[in-house]
């Protein structure tokens, strides 16, 4: 039996193998960075709207309260929503200007629900820096923003001033002829 010798490769010094050491360093650093990022994300995302804020996402509104030529401001998601009962003259002006030069071109028909031109429902937040435009003022009879002088027409389209976009349209549906659901 003495003429057989079993030889295994000599154990390499574990700590001295540069590749293994590097590997451990990289894995450890990656785990640490990954851990920090994984912990940071909830701390950042925590500032996004919470579940109860998101839950307040829709309201219902009775249109019969708004007479012709009037505007009622409703609060939706903390923002003012303008519900404007337009007069035939205001509708005609808005349609007449459909092809006038504009920053953010849009036809009047695209600004209201089909067959309901009298109801203009827009978010009452100036697209410049977020102030609430004043009803009925400005050269176009729509709105005038008191902060930096943006002028909107009777379809809520930006016609003059620093605001880049038309007043936003909220998602809304007609539940009946006199009732809408915003959101």
């Amino acid at each position: 039996m003495a003429n057989t010798v079993v030889e295994t490769s000599p154990p390499a010094g574990h700590g001295d193998d540069p590749n293994r050491r590097d590997f451990i360093h990289i894995v450890a650093a990656t785990a640490a960075v990954g851990g920090v990022v994984a912990f940071a994300w909830p701390l950042i995302d925590e500032m996004n709207p919470s579940a109860d804020v998101l839950a307040l996402s829709s309201i219902e509104f009775d249109l019969s309260k708004v007479t012709v030529g009037q505007q009622v401001v409703v609060k939706w998601q903390g923002k003012p929503v303008f519900v404007r009962h337009r007069t035939p003259k205001e509708i005609a002006e808005a349609v007449h200007d459909d092809h006038a030069p504009m920053k953010d071109p849009a036809t009047d028909a695209s600004r209201h629900k089909p067959g309901k031109p009298e109801w203009l429902i827009v978010i009452g937040v100036c697209t410049h820096l977020g102030c609430v435009p004043n009803f009925g003022l400005g050269d176009y009879g729509g709105w005038l923003c008191p902060c930096h002088g943006s002028v909107y027409d009777t379809a809520g389209r930006i016609r003059k001033g620093p605001a880049p976009l038309n007043l936003f349209l909220p998602d809304y549906t007609f539940l009946s002829d006199t009732k809408i659901k915003v959101g």
Binding site: I44, M47, N48, S50, H128
Partner: protein
């Protein structure tokens, strides 16, 4: 630092402490025996005044937080409760509110002093940048503090400033929603602003420590802008500058107190005594006076994103000032051309502030009709702020060019030399 420490513990206890935590040594070397140029004028006292301002804001703020309620339904009333019911509450709040204005007044003087005497130049670039960081933190803190009373100006100030972020392409909308914690400025916004308003002053205090550390490595600049050459150029910080700073602080506190006790609302806006109403914007939105020049630059630009970038850029330029102005001569005492442009720069900053306080379409000369140039009347604050904003930016370019063009006056060889020469003549 001055090299080796001159502190010698005298008692058994101080020797014992010094071997374990040399904190008394640190204080001694930093604020007692620190060698300071002997020619510092009163413009140099604003560093101490600013430390005082920070202390006042933190102390009054901590006390106010004991009575204030950061809730959209209660905040306004809790501030009124502080004003009417809390013992001395009116005074503490007026000190805190006017203290912010005094803080900015002092910091602007401190910054203009730094520019005039070239205090940002090598080897003090890091010192200068730390100061710029403090200034940014101060602006964030002041803005969030102004939102807390939840009046109309608070609310719409918050709306306008957070909407600036919305100008950023692609990510703008998600960032504003994230900042608000909702779909508009509301209770979650107020809550986080209160949390951060309490945090940031302590971060400022931390950066102030770094600022003083970075100051004590090369030592103070001085009105002549030449480095300290020998021990004859300096005096110990105490008692020379503790007394000088102390006197300046006393004078500053007289101004401070006259605002607090005789015109506490002069720097505020009456609309902020109207509770916040998200459905109605006040007719005339203005920020606090110390933001007006930047607000004017923002409004001067017709494009929203460019306006926002120009506004932030006007502050960002300060950070790179040490690399814009390459002139070897620090003090503008010896740079007549640069001094002239600097004085115009101060006037331009003040006029920008004036523009920011007016409606863009207001006429500058009421009796002059003026005429329309592009989108606005030439006789309006819109055009005035455009010209001024151009100079604001041009000033940095001028400093850059003057580094090579300007021929400075002869600079004295040391702080003491001109005095000694004058003495010999006399």
């Amino acid at each position: 630092m001055s090299g080796h420490s001159t502190y010698e513990p005298k008692t058994g206890f101080t020797r014992w402490l010094d071997a374990r935590l040399p904190i008394v040594r640190l204080a001694h070397d930093s604020f007692v025996d620190f060698p300071t140029p002997k020619n510092l004028n009163y413009w140099w006292t604003f560093g101490g005044i600013l430390a005082l301002c920070l202390g006042i804001q933190i102390v009054t703020g901590v006390v106010l937080a004991m009575h204030y309620v950061p809730n959209a339904n209660l905040a306004f009333n809790s501030v009124e409760h502080i004003m009417r019911d809390v013992n001395h509450g009116w005074m503490i709040r007026y000190i805190h509110a006017n203290g912010a204005s005094m803080f900015f007044l002092a910091v602007y003087i401190h910054m203009f002093r730094g520019i005039y005497y070239g205090s940002y130049k090598p080897p003090r670039e890091i010192l200068w940048i730390l100061g710029c960081i403090i200034y940014l933190l101060m602006m964030a803190t002041a803005f969030m503090g102004y939102v807390l009373p939840w009046g109309q100006m608070s609310y719409f100030g918050a709306v306008v400033i957070t909407n600036l972020m919305g100008a950023l392409p692609i990510v703008g909308k998600s960032i504003t929603t994230w900042l608000w914690g909702g779909f508009a400025v509301d209770n979650p916004t107020l809550n986080r602003f209160f949390s951060l308003h309490y945090l940031l002053p302590f971060m400022i205090a931390g950066v102030v420590v770094l600022h003083i550390w970075a100051l004590h490595v090369p030592g103070n600049n001085n009105p002549r802008g030449v480095e300290v050459k020998s021990k004859e150029d300096t005096v110990p910080f105490h008692p020379y500058y503790t007394v000088k700073d102390g006197f300046a602080m006393s004078v500053f506190l007289i101004l401070f107190a006259s605002f607090v006790f005789f015109m506490p609302d002069a720097l505020g806006h009456p609309d902020n005594y109207v509770p916040a109403n998200p459905l109605v914007t006040p007719a005339h939105i203005v920020p606090e006076w110390y933001f007006l020049p930047f607000y004017a630059i923002l409004r001067a630009v017709p494009d929203k994103l460019t306006g926002v970038l120009m506004m932030f850029g006007s502050i960002g330029l300060l950070f790179v000032l040490p690399w814009i102005d390459r002139s070897k001569v620090r003090s503008m005492r010896y740079r007549p051309t640069a001094r002239l442009f600097f004085l115009i720069f101060i006037v331009v900053c003040l006029l920008l502030g004036l523009c920011g306080s007016h409606e863009p379409d207001d006429k500058i000369f009421a009796n002059l009709a003026g005429f329309n140039l592009l989108d606005s009347n030439l006789n309006s604050y819109t055009w005035l702020s455009r010209f001024l904003a151009v100079y604001y930016y041009a000033f940095y370019a001028i400093l850059f060019l003057l580094s090579w063009i300007e021929k400075p006056l002869p600079v004295p060889e040391s702080i003491s030399a001109p005095v000694l020469k004058a003495g010999k003549k006399g």
